[in-house]
C-alpha cells in the first residue's frame, strides 16, 4: 500500500474534532484550572492553590457523596441480573408477548423526570401506594416517612434507576438472546442440563458482549447519577445529605452555592474515578472483542 499524504481523512474528522475540542477538551482543561481557584462564575477566578482540595479532604459531605456514588453501583449487577431474567421470559414465543415488551419499556421512554414524579407519589407518607400496601397487609404497624428517612433515600433512588433501566436493558439482552443459535440449547438439553444450567452454560456466555456493554453503560450512569436524586429529594439531596452523590454535590456547589472553584475540585475527583473505571471497562471490552 502506498501511503500518499491526503487531506481527506482529516477533513472527515474535522467537524467532530472541533466540537470535541470546544465542548470536551477545553472545558476539561478549564475545570482543572478552576479547581485551583476561588470562582463563582460571576467574578473572574482567583488563584488559591490547593485550598479547594484541602477543603475537600476535610468535607464530610463530599465523602458522603463519594461513598454514595460507589454505593449506587449496586444497581449495575442488579440490573444485569434482573434484565437478563426478564429477557429470557419475554423471549418465549407467547402470543401477545410484544405487548408486554412494550409495557416494560414504558418507564424508559417516559423519562426520569416524569417517572420520578410518579415514584415520589408511590412513597408518599399519607396514602402512598407503598405505605398503603405494607400497612394494609400488616407488615408495617404504621406508615413510614420513606422520603424523609436518610437510610431510604439512596435505595429509593436506586430502585427508580432499576425500574427505569430494566426495560431498556431487557431489550439489549433480548436482542442478544435472539442471536444465540437454538441448537445450542437443544444440545444442552440433550447433555442433561436442567433449565437453570441451560441458561448458565449457554445464555450467559452467549450474552457476554451485551453484559459488558450494559456493565459499561450502567456503571458510568450510576457513578454520574443526578436526575433520580433531584426528583426524589426535590432538589435538596435528602435529609442529612443521604442522597447526595458526586454529580449532585458538584451541581449544588457550582450552581446553588456559587462555589464553582470548589465544584471543579469535586469534578476532578469524579474524573479520576471514571478514569479508573474506564481502564477496567476498556480491558473488559478488549477481552470480549478478542473472544468474539
Amino acid at each position: 500500500m502506498s501511503k500518499r499524504f491526503s487531506l481527506t481523512p482529516y477533513l472527515f474528522l474535522a467537524p467532530a474534532l472541533i466540537i470535541i475540542t470546544v465542548f470536551i477538551l477545553y472545558p476539561t482543561a478549564a475545570v482543572v484550572y478552576y479547581s485551583f481557584t476561588d470562582y463563582n462564575i460571576v467574578q473572574p477566578p482567583e488563584w488559591v492553590g490547593l485550598q479547594n482540595y484541602q477543603q475537600l479532604l476535610r468535607d464530610p459531605i463530599f465523602w458522603k457523596a463519594f461513598t454514595n456514588s460507589f454505593l449506587y453501583l449496586i444497581v449495575t449487577p442488579t440490573l444485569i441480573f434482573l434484565s437478563i431474567l426478564l429477557a429470557i421470559v419475554v423471549n418465549r414465543p407467547l402470543p401477545g408477548i410484544n405487548v408486554f415488551r412494550a409495557l416494560y419499556y414504558v418507564p424508559v421512554i417516559s423519562g426520569t423526570i416524569a417517572v420520578g414524579i410518579a415514584w415520589r407519589w408511590l412513597f408518599d407518607y399519607n396514602g402512598g401506594l407503598i405505605n398503603g400496601i405494607l400497612v394494609g397487609i400488616g407488615i408495617l404497624p404504621a406508615p413510614v416517612q420513606w422520603l424523609a428517612e436518610p437510610a431510604f433515600t439512596l435505595p429509593i433512588a436506586m430502585l427508580l434507576t432499576i425500574w427505569i433501566g430494566l426495560g431498556y436493558y431487557m431489550m439489549v439482552f433480548l436482542a442478544g438472546l435472539q442471536n444465540i443459535p437454538e441448537d445450542l440449547y437443544d444440545a444442552a438439553v440433550i447433555d442433561g442440563c436442567n433449565p437453570v444450567q441451560k441458561h448458565w452454560y449457554v445464555t450467559l456466555p452467549g450474552l457476554r458482549p451485551q453484559i459488558v456493554f450494559v456493565a459499561v453503560i450502567s456503571s458510568l450512569a450510576a457513578i454520574e447519577v443526578f436526575n433520580e436524586i433531584y426528583v426524589i429529594t426535590g432538589g435538596l439531596g435528602g435529609i442529612l445529605n443521604s442522597g447526595v452523590t458526586m454529580v449532585f454535590y458538584l451541581w449544588r456547589q457550582a450552581f446553588r452555592l456559587q462555589h464553582a472553584g470548589y465544584a471543579s475540585a469535586v469534578a476532578m475527583v469524579l474524573l479520576l474515578i471514571t478514569l479508573a473505571f474506564s481502564i477496567i471497562n476498556i480491558r473488559l471490552l478488549e477481552r470480549s472483542e478478542q473472544n468474539t
Partner: protein, 484 residues
Amino acid sequence: MKQIEKGYLSAAFVLALAAILFVACGAPAAPPAQTVRETVVVPQTVVAAQTVVAPQTVVVPQTVVAEQTVVVQPTAAPNPEAVIKDVEPNAEVSLWTFWLSPTFDDYIKSTIARFEATYPGVKVNWEDHQATFQDDLRNAFAAGNAPDVINLSVGEGWVSDYATKGLLLPLDDKVPQDVKDLYFKGLWEEQLVDGVNYQFPWYQGISVELVNMKVYSDGAGLKLEDFPKTVDGLPELCQTIKDKTGTLCNIRLTVNDLLAQMVYEGGVKILSEDGKTCTFDSADGAAWLQMYVDMVKAGTVDRSVLVTDQDRVGLDLFTSGNSAFYQTGPNLIREVRANNPGLYGYLAAVPAPVGKSGVLGKGLMGISVKNDTKFPNASIALAQFFTNPESMLEFSKIVAVYPSTPKSYDDPFFAAKPIAVEDSAKPIAKDIVSKYADIVPTVPNKADVNEAVLQAVQSALFDNVPVQDALTTAAKACTELINK
C-alpha cells in the same frame, strides 16, 4: 407498511391492556371511599373566637368568595403615581415575580399596563417563576442576564442573600424621601444589610395558623381557643394530635434563613457585639434547637416538611387534609380551596404562635432592583409602582395580602366586615403590619453560614448529634466564614 400496521396494532394492544388493568384494578376499590363530600360549611367553624386575629366571632355562613378581577384604566398624565424622576427614555425593563402566575395574571398585566401609561416609553417584560425561582435567578445572575426588577422574599432571606453578594441596587440614595415615607417605616427598614435598604416592601402576610378542624377538633378533640399562643406549646400539641389521630405535625423550619428564625423564635443572640464571633451556640440557641430535636425524636412531625426549602411542600400536606394545622399567610387559603374544596369548610384560622423574642417577624415580599441594571430609574420606578398605595390596594382586593403602605388602609375596603375565613385578619392587619421589624443583625457571607448551620441542625435532628455539639461546630464554621 406491514411493520407500521403492526406497530399501531401493538399500540392499540397496549391501550387495551391498560384499559383492562385499569378496570381490573379499579374494581376492588369499589365501595367508593366517601372521603370528600360536598363542600360542607360547618356552622361551628368559629374563626378565632378569643384570638387577636378576629376579635369578633366570625361565623362562616355560605362562603361566597368574590373573585372579581380588577382592571384599572390608565389615568391621564400628568400622573400622580409618577413619583420617580429621570426615567430613561425607551427603557426596556424585565420583571420577575415569584409564584403569581397564572392566578394573578390579570392583576399583574393590568398593573404593568397602568405603569406603562404612567411612564410612557418604558416597556416591561414580565416572567413568573415558581418552584425553580431561586435556581433560575442564580443561573440568570451567573449568566449576566438577570432581570432588572425582582420580586424577592424577605421572610425567606432572599433579599439579604443577594444583597450581601452585591447583586442588588442600594435604594436609600436613589429614592426621594417623600416616596420612602409612603411605606411603613418598619417595613422600609425590614431587611437592612449593613444599614442599607435594598427592597421596596411589597405585599405582606399576617402569619396565621390554618387549622383543619376535622383533624384538630373532630379527631384530636382539641378546642380552637386552646391553640398554643407561643411556639414552645407546639411539642405537646403535636404529641396529642399524633396520639389521637396518627397524623404528623406540619411544621417547617426556615431552612434558607435559620439564623433569623433563631432570633425571632428562640430569642437567640447570633452575633457578638463587635460582629466578629457567632454566638448562637448559647443556651438560648440550644434550647431552640432542642425543641425541634425532641419533636423529631418523638416522631410527631413530618420530617420532609420540617427541612424542605419550599413552603409549598407543607401547604400541599395541609391541603391534602392530612395535617391538623399549618402556618401560612391567608393569601394561600385560596390554594387550599382550589385544590381541596371539601376541606375548605373545615378551615379555621388562629394567630400564629410567637417566639421568645415576642416580635412578630419580618414582612413577606419585597421588590428589588439589580445592581448593574441599564435602566436604574425605570427599574426603580417599576418596583415603586408595584408597591405604591394604589397597586397594593387593588392587589389586596383580589387576595388576602396586606399593603406595605399605610395609605391603602384608608380605603373603605379595609373597614368592611370580613366574610370569608381568609379575610379574618383584615380589621387588624394595619396594626400588625406596622409592627413588623427587623431584629436580625447582618451576617456577612450569609448563604454559606446558613448552609453550615443547616448541616448542623440536620445532624442534631436526624443523626443523634448532641444539640450543643452541633451548634458549637456550626458556630465555629460561622465565625470563620464571617471573617473571611
